[in-house]
Symmetry: C2
Subunit: 235 residues, 2 copies
DNA sequence: CCGAAGAGTTAGTCATGCCTAAATCTCGGT
DNA sequence: ACCGAGATTTAGGCATGACTAACTCTTCGG
């Protein structure tokens, strides 16, 4: 009996795992856009039917995590945003921890973190963060929210937006596609490396990008997902 | 969609968290005794009402994890025992990992492991085991089942069974009582230390035990829970 | 400005687990 | 052999979260 209460009294009222996942999904779908997020988009992101998402969004609204205008989508409340950032902090700390401390390949840390992010205590979160030296970025270059849940502003642009001749630092790439991560890993293309666009082939052709003296032909999907900062023209 | 399937295809058919907890509880209640375990005992261990346990035990029986004779208790099938050992392996590896690698105090690793044991992948289990050098015991001295789920036989006896004058090696202590662990920790009494029984006070009085040149008066509850191996008489 | 396509919601189920209350079984003692 | 105490199970609910099928709302094209 007492064990159950103690467990549920994690912070104030235990947040269900489902709520955490939805908050995170909505946060990431909102991105920098101000618009409300549609039920269908959330459903697709989570991997459930729109009907399921609709029911869940209503619950989240009841819990004060989102504002829901029926038929017009949801927007996170600040409470919901806090929750999302907490989960994202967990996720990225765990990813980095698995990669750095346990040597798990960076294309596999995502799935593991996706589960564990909901199950670590505040204490373990802090121990992990300390062990890693309060890191600012995860293995894919995504910024890690601070303990106070502040997230570094991101001034990166899509690699696809660069013109031939421009160069910059490879900043980050989505962690959700393991294939893509393996592809980049095999070519030694990691966040932090400098790269320069040699040429852009027309008709949705590949972008020729020079990294460490080697030129790679990167496809359209990839250069949409890769983000670059500190872009400078010419060379 | 694909994400959900991949996640559920953990091994063959995903084992629910509840089943894992019940299997573990039943395993530990069975101990070396051959008798079936009663519904009430399981309920108490898990921290639910007997009604809840009864319903759950029926489900476990349907899933082939236990044999359930209504009104006469349950016994793990070998499948159920495998599941229990798998969870126990996770639990103890995680406890040791938290203590060794992250420096979490040994009186707090239990609660964290209790949650995480259900959520680590086989791959992470193996990475942790490798990092720790395929360890044989957790921080409380409990043996860790091997990857093949073999568990070292335990020839330890309760400290309470020792007579004055006998000595032995403190082998293990239950991880379930954080108070007790803190108490022992403060006195430098850890698994592995040699100890000798100086005297036994009558009328449920304390046992006077010498550890590293210091004599401690240990209460009845404690010496019931502490286990000792390599007992030798006289000195 | 109306009607259909498509997005979103409601209705009705299911599975997992827990609860209380009420029934039922077992077993020891007379 | 029976009775009652105590253990156990059944009955009926609730919460979380997902599904299908059916209904409704919004919006866009003609």
């Amino acid at each position: 009996m007492s064990g159950v209460e103690a467990h549920n009294a994690h912070r104030s009222r235990r947040t269900a795992e489902g709520a955490e996942n939805y908050a995170k999904a909505i946060y990431q779908l909102q991105g920098r856009g101000e618009d409300a997020v549609g039920t269908g988009a959330v459903a697709e992101r989570i991997g459930v039917t729109p009907a399921s998402a609709s029911a869940m969004l209503k619950r989240l609204a009841d819990d004060g995590l989102v504002e829901h205008v029926p038929y017009h989508g949801v927007r996170l409340t600040s409470e919901g945003e806090q929750l999302a950032l907490e989960v994202i902090r967990h996720h990225r700390l765990i990813e980095l921890f698995l990669a750095e401390v346990l040597g798990m390949p960076w294309d596999r840390v995502h799935d593991e973190a996706e589960v564990l992010e909901h199950h670590i205590s505040e204490e373990l979160e802090e121990l992990i963060a300390s062990k890693l030296g309060q890191p600012l970025r995860d293995p894919h270059g995504d910024p890690i929210p601070s303990r106070e849940l502040d997230l570094a502003a991101d001034d990166s642009v899509r690699l696809s937006e660069l013109e031939a001749g421009q160069s910059g630092r490879f900043e980050r790439v989505s962690d959700r596609d393991a294939e893509m991560l393996r592809y980049l890993d095999e070519r030694g293309i990691h966040p932090g490396v400098e790269l320069e666009v040699s040429r852009r082939e027309p008709f949705a052709g590949p972008m020729l990008v020079e990294v460490g003296g080697v030129t790679h032909a990167l496809g359209g999907e990839l250069i949409e997902r890769m983000r670059v900062s500190g872009v400078s023209s010419g060379g």
